[in-house]
Amino acid sequence: MPYDWIKSVTRVMKAASGQVKGLDRVPFFAISDEQFISRIMGITTREILSSPETYANCIIKTAEFIQADTIQIPSAYAGPLEAYAFAEVNNKMNSIQWYDYKPLAIKPGEVCKTEEDIEKLEIPDHSKIDLWETTFTTANIIKEKVNLSQSMGVSIWSVVQELRGIDAFKDIRRNPDLLLKLCEKIYESQLDAYNNWVEKVGVPPLIMYTGYAFNKHMMSFKDAMKYEGQFIKRFQEKIKSPFMLHNCGTKPYFKEICREIDFVAVNGSHPLDIEYWIDFKREFPKITIMGANIDVSREMLTGTPQDVEEKVRENIINLAPGGRYIVSPICCLPWGVPLQNVLAIPKAIEKYGRYPIKTS
C-alpha cells in the first residue's frame, strides 16, 4: 500500500495548530541526515547527492521506512551547505571534507582564519552553487512526488562557527565589531539563499532556524541575542514564513528566547526533565513542542525498544493532550542506533498517541 503522505501532512497541520478534532494521532518528526539515509539506502553520500532525483527518492524512502510524518532535505539545513557556499566563492574548497557515509564537513575556522579573511569575505550567489541547485531541485521533486512543501533552514551562529572556528568565541571578547561584521555577511548570504528558494521552489511553509548560540555553555543570553537573535528578528521582518526553533544543545535558552522572538514550534531534547516541558507548554500554549526529552544519544542509542516506548509514552501523556505536540527524537538519528529502537517510536505513537489521549 502506498504511503499516505496526504494523511501525514493533515496530521502535522492539525497537531501544529492545536486542532484535536479530527486528529487521529500524534505525528512523528525525525531528522534523517545523509549518514542515516546512507545506512537505510545502502549507498554513499556522493551517490545520494549524484542527482536531485536520487536524492529525493532516498529522502522519501528513508522517511517512509521509519514511518515519519514529515520530510526534510538534510542539505537545506543552513550549516555545512552554507559554509560550502562560502568556501566555494572564497576559493577555500580545500577546507571541505567529503565522507562516504556522512554529510560533508568543513574544517572549522579555515575559511575565516584571519581578520583579513573576514573583511574580504565574498557573499555567495546561491544560484551558482551546485549543491544549492541540487537542493532546490530536490525540494521541487519531493513536492511533485508527495505533495509536501519543504522547509528551509537558516542560522547565523552555526555558520559563524564553521567559518571562523574557535576564534569566533574569542572574538566575542577581543573583537566584537569584527564578529558582527561576519554575522552581517552570513545574514546577507542567508537572505540570498532564501530569495533563491522563493524563486525556484516557492515560499517555504516553515523556516527551520537552528539556534546554536542560544546555549548556556556557549554564551550569555545577551551575547546570543547580539550575535544571532537580532539577525533572526531581522529575518522575520523580511520573511513572512513562520519560524521553528531547532536547538539540540544541552543547555538551551528555550524559554528565554521564546519570550523575545516569535516561533510557532520548538524542536529540542534538553532539558531532559519532562517538568520543564510541561511548564514550557503552560507558558507558551501556542507553540508546538517537537521533541521534548527524547534524546538520540540516550535511550535511542543504548536502550531497548521498551525504553524508547516508555520515553515516547511519557512525552505523549504529558504534552500531547490538546495538540501542539509532535514526537521527535533529537537530533540526527545516529549511525549506530538500533533500527528497532527507531521503529519503536511509530509503534509507541500507535499505542499511546491516538486521540483522545489517555493520560493514565
Binding site: K102, G165, F169, H217, S297
Partner: protein
C-alpha cells in the same frame, strides 16, 4: 608593589583573560626572582579555579574560558623553564587527546587541551578527524596517562567505540575519557570508556580528578 600584590594582580589578569598583560606581568615577576612554584600555586592555579567557579555559576561563558586559557598558557610558557629547575617537581602527566575520525568539531577538545597545557600537563593534541589507527600508534609511542576522545556528531559515538576497542586490543592501559554533546553515562558504559564529560570544562575537571587518584 609587594610580592603578594603582584601575585594577586597576576591571578586577576588570568581571571579577566588578558594574555598580553599576563606576559608583561610575568616578565616583571620573573625578574624579581619570585619562586616558580609559588607563582604557579598562588596565582595561576588560583586564577584557573576562580574561572571555573564563575563558569559553573553561569557568570562566565566559553569565550571567557578560552581567553583565560590563553592567559594561563602565556604565563606557563614563561614559567615552565623555571619550574623544571625544581628538583621536587613530579614528572608531568601525559594526556593524548583528539576528535575522532569523521568529526571535525574541535571547540571542546581545544579548550581542554589548552587549559590542561596551561596548568602544566603535557598534552598531545592530535587535532580533529583523527583516524583510529593514529590514536593507537601515538598511544603506543607516548604511553599517555589519559586518552581523551572528543566528538560532537551523533555518529562519533560509534567511532569512539571503535577506537576504544582497538586501543584495548593493542594493550594500551591508559584511562579513556570521552567528551562532547553526544556522550551520556549510558553511551560511556556501552562503549567501555572510563568516564565522560558533556563539555570542555567538565572534561578538564574529570581528567584532573582521574589524574589525582
Amino acid at each position: 608593589m609587594t610580592s603578594e600584590d603582584l601575585l594577586m594582580k597576576l591571578k586577576d589578569l588570568i581571571v579577566e583573560g588578558e594574555p598580553q598583560k599576563t606576559i608583561e606581568l610575568m616578565e616583571e615577576i620573573i625578574k624579581l626572582g619570585l619562586d616558580a612554584k609559588i607563582i604557579l600555586n598562588e596565582a595561576i592555579i588560583k586564577g584557573a579555579d576562580e574561572v571555573g567557579i564563575l563558569y559553573e555559576k553561569e557568570e562566565y561563558f566559553l569565550a571567557d574560558l578560552l581567553m583565560s586559557g590563553d592567559a594561563i598558557k602565556a604565563a606557563m610558557e614563561i614559567l615552565k623553564p623555571k619550574l623544571l629547575m625544581h628538583s621536587d617537581i613530579k614528572p608531568q602527566k601525559v594526556i593524548l587527546i583528539g576528535t575522532v575520525e569523521g568529526d571535525v568539531h574541535d571547540i571542546g577538545k581545544s579548550l581542554v587541551s589548552s587549559l590542561l597545557q596551561g596548568q602544566g600537563f603535557e598534552v598531545i593534541d592530535l587535532g580533529s578527524d583523527v583516524p583510529v589507527e593514529t590514536f593507537v600508534q601515538k598511544a603506543k609511542e607516548i604511553k599517555p596517562d589519559i586518552i581523551g576522545l572528543s566528538g560532537l556528531l551523533t555518529m562519533s559515538i560509534s567511532k569512539m567505540h571503535e577506537t576504544i576497542i582497538l586501543l584495548k586490543k593493542a594493550g594500551i592501559p591508559s584511562k579513556i575519557i570521552i567528551g562532547g554533546g553526544v556522550v551520556s553515562k549510558q553511551s560511556c558504559a556501552m562503549i567501555g570508556a572510563d568516564d565522560c564529560a558533556k563539555d570542555g570544562y567538565e572534561g578538564i575537571k574529570k581528567i584532573k580528578k582521574i589524574l589525582s587518584e
